[in-house]
Structure formats: structure tokens, C-alpha cells
Subunit: 255 residues, 2 copies
DNA sequence: ACTCTAACTTTGTCGGACAAAGGGACAGAA
DNA sequence: TTCTGTCCCTTTGTCCGACAAAGTTAGAGT
């Protein structure tokens, strides 16, 4: 016979966790707004009535979660979590779960197509200008695989931004971060890779300008299929993402 | 005139960060495998030659990132970051960025359709069984909005799982976590909401069983449109996601 | 072989300490 | 006035040592 639920489970979280939770609550429910100062560690010691070491452990948790940062003078502020930083956590997780390039490819096909559709529909003048600027820089470094791969990654971030849909922007980022290093390898290994990549970007900008959804989708598909063909010259799609790719995601996180 | 780049910026990361980075590197590059013990704090003090407080701050960073956990006896282990925990970080970020329900809806339309397509193509017997089990439980609680909403959230997690694409699984989760609380409100407010929801699930399972892609996509669209219609009876799609929704995501994180 | 207890280890927290770096005020130089 | 160097105070990052509570291990006794 089950016992009558006389007692609720009591909260036995360690103190540093409670400190972190308390500050998190205030930020998430909006009482502390992004940019607001949190106060010094000593202030927090007084407010929470715990030791500074405990406060500091709590602060580390929030810092890692992207909810607070230290400014140039190391003072604490609430802040809006940055997508690229959060996404690199996810990229890391995907690597550890040993996802395959096939999964990456399939998901990206969906996400990038959705991005371009949004961009075609809603891109602003400024979005297009950013994309055009990126294209110009890409054309200038078409012979440099590393820099071209970086431009490519930025290009797709800008397309997602142009979609004006931040959920999509965030959803595509983890997979995109894992693509980036392979793009470099492919452009290095496949002679016509660089020019084809830049040409695809040019068509994509054109499609956005003309609000031509069909063309946007078509060229996004081609662009990704190009990646796939290039990749399959190097390795199998069923290979899992290698640990070494994390270096790039780590670099992105610190930025 | 720009100065010749004689010096590189020097690395002045604090000690606790270096500790965290060093351990993270070993985990991510695979030298420490998930499940492996990390050693006691005292061990780490000896190995890194820094104070225990410093070690502990580094550990908090890794713990929050999901790379290590403490087992029942509080000993440290490397572990695979859990999707739902990471996703709740993203949900939190989306709330803070004040994304609109329109963004959520549009992105989910893409992501859930992609999930069902994958599920129709690749769902295993076991996946279908899990879905059927979920459906049975849903039917049993069709009069209870809170429990039905929970079942609905689980259903879509299971569909994504059935797609066998972990990238997709991860990408859809942050948006899905924000959907969940509204589902409850809608089912509460709209009389025929519950039965329609369950009926849609039944059709989806059926589509997966028959490997009928068209039907799967169709019913996913209808299911989401139902949500939208229900939501618009309550509020505008252009409203931003409210802070209160975070409670659910926070609960998910702790699990 | 099993249980119970005592000793040991580990974690979470505390208090205090100090060097390095930043910010602010202030005086003197250009 | 504007700039610069100096002094002082605050804050952070790190260290040391300590202790209670909870978990682990080993040994005693059955």
C-alpha cells in the first residue's frame, strides 16, 4: 500500500548551486536585465551570507552558461547568451556522440534550405549588403582554402541572419560549426571547389535579391551536394565526426 | 601607419580556466572516455599544482558544460553531455532574446517535418513500439491538459529519435521545449484540442508504420497548424516567448 | 560468508590571507 | 587646459588551513 504523500522531497542542492540558481532566476525572469551589473563578489557574500569561495563557484556556473560575463575591468554583468558560444557546446556534444557526416548532411540540408527560404522572403537591404560584402571578400581569397572556408561559414551565418528567424539561426549553428573544417579540406583537395563555392554564393545572393525562392532552394541544394561530392572523395559519409574538428569549435567559443 | 605585428597576444587565461581547458581537451579528443573517472579533487591538486579552490572552480565549469558529472558517491566522471540539458540552455537563451512564437512556429514546422521524414524512412520496430506506448498513455490522459502536454512533448521527442538523426534530434529540442507549456494552455482552452492532438499522433504512427512519407508530412503540418490555430485564440503569434516558460525548461534540465 | 563498526577519504563550506591589476583622485608638467 | 605620473583603495585570482557530513574501506566479531 502506498504511503500517503505527507512530505515533499526536500531541496538538498549545494550552496553554490543555490547561489547560481537564485541569480539565474533573477536574470531569466527579467528582474535583472542584460547589461545590469551583478555587484562584486563581496556584495554577493553579504547578500547570500555564504563564503566567497562558494559565491565564486556559483559564478563559474553562470559564466559558463553564458548568463553573466565579466567586462574589461572584470566586473560582473548580466548578458544575453551568445549563439556561437552556446552552439559550440552543442557541436562538442555532437562530436562526443560520434554523429556521422550523413546525419550532419541531412540535418543541414533541411536547416540551410529553411534559412534561405526565410532569407528570400524577409532579407533586409542591410542583410543583402552584408552578404555582398562577404562575397567580395570570398572572391579575394578564393585561392586560400582556410580563409575561404571561413568566409563560407560566415556566409551561411549571414543567410540565417537574413531569415530574421533566430530560432532557425540557433538551430543550424551546431551542425554548421562542424561543417566548416571539412570545407577547408575539400577546397584544398578539389581544384574547382573554390570557384564553384563562390559561384553558388553569388547565385544565392542573386536569388535573395530577386526574392526567387525556387532559385534559392535550388542553389542551396547544389551547394550542399557539392560539399557532399567533395567530401566523398575524401571519406565516407558514414564516418563519424572526428575529435580534431573540435579545435575550431573551441576557437569559436572563445571569440 | 599600422604597427608591424611583432607580437602575438599572450595567453593570460586564469588558472581555473586552464584547468578546465586541460581536462576538456582530454575528454574531447578521446583520451578520457565517457565514464572514465577523473580522480579526486586532491589528485587534481597534485597533478596541476594549484590550490583546491582553483580546481573546484574549474570543475564547476566542466560540470555546467555537461562534460563531467559526479556519480552517486560524488566522484568525478567524464560523461556524454545530455541533449535535454544542453537544449534547455538554448531554450533559456531564446527566451532572453525574446524570440516570437512566429519564429518558433516557423522553425518547428521545418524541424518537425524533417523529423517525421526521417522517421518514416528509418524508424525501427522498437521506435514504433515506443510511439505506440506513448499513444496509449496519451489516450488515457486526454482529459488532463498538463499530462497530455507532457505526452505530446515526449511523442515528438520519440519521432525525432525514430529519425535516427541525432543532429536533427538536438536541433529541434530547444524550440520544442518552448512549445510544451503552450500546448497545455491550448488543450485547456480549446475543447476539441485534446482529441485532435491524439488523433494526429495516431495518424503519424500509422504513417510511420506504412512508410508513407506524404501522410507523415501532411499530418505533422496539420498537427502544427492545429497548435497555431489554438494559440492564436489565446495570443498573437508575434508575441515574444514569456519568461515564465522557463520554469519548464529548468525542470527539464535538472532531470 | 555475513554484518557491524571504526578508521580513513572526499566533498562542501568556511575563515583568513596576499599579490596583481584596475579605478579614482590628485598633484605637477607641458 | 590637457596630459602624466603617483598614491590609495577596491576587486579579483589564488593560496592556506580547517572542519563537519557523507561516503568508502578494512577489520572485528559472529
Amino acid at each position: 500500500m502506498p504511503v500517503a504523500p505527507l512530505f515533499r522531497p526536500i531541496d538538498v542542492a549545494p550552496a553554490y548551486q543555490k547561489v547560481a540558481d537564485a541569480i539565474e532566476r533573477e536574470i531569466v525572469n527579467g528582474r535583472i536585465k542584460p547589461g545590469d551589473p551583478i555587484g562584486t563578489e563581496h556584495d554577493l557574500v553579504r547578500q547570500f551570507g555564504v563564503n566567497r569561495s562558494t559565491i565564486r563557484e556559483g559564478i563559474r556556473v553562470l559564466e559558463e552558461g553564458g548568463l553573466i560575463r565579466r567586462d574589461s575591468s572584470r566586473r560582473l554583468h548580466a548578458c544575453l547568451p551568445r549563439y556561437s558560444k552556446l552552439a559550440s557546446r552543442l557541436s562538442r556534444a555532437l562530436v562526443l556522440h560520434e554523429v556521422t557526416f550523413r546525419e550532419l548532411y541531412e540535418a543541414s540540408m533541411t536547416l540551410e534550405v529553411a534559412s534561405i527560404e526565410g532569407a528570400v522572403e524577409r532579407a533586409s537591404e542591410e542583410n543583402v549588403a552584408e552578404l555582398a560584402d562577404n562575397l567580395a571578400r570570398s572572391e579575394a581569397v578564393v585561392g586560400n582554402p582556410a580563409m575561404l572556408a571561413e568566409c563560407d561559414a560566415e556566409f551561411h551565418v549571414l543567410v540565417a541572419k537574413a531569415s530574421q528567424n533566430r530560432v532557425l539561426q540557433l538551430a543550424r549553428e551546431p551542425a554548421a560549426q562542424l561543417f566548416y573544417p571539412t570545407t577547408e579540406m575539400i577546397v584544398t583537395g578539389v581544384a574547382e571547389g573554390g570557384p564553384r563555392l563562390v559561384a553558388a554564393h553569388r547565385h544565392l545572393i542573386d536569388a535573395i535579391r530577386r526574392r526567387d525562392r525556387e532559385a534559392g532552394v535550388l542553389w542551396t541544394r547544389r551547394h550542399l551536394q557539392d560539399w557532399r561530392r567533395g567530401f566523398e572523395k575524401i571519406a565516407s559519409l558514414d564516418r563519424s565526426v572526428e575529435h580534431m574538428y573540435m579545435e575550431h569549435a573551441q576557437a569559436a567559443r572563445r571569440r
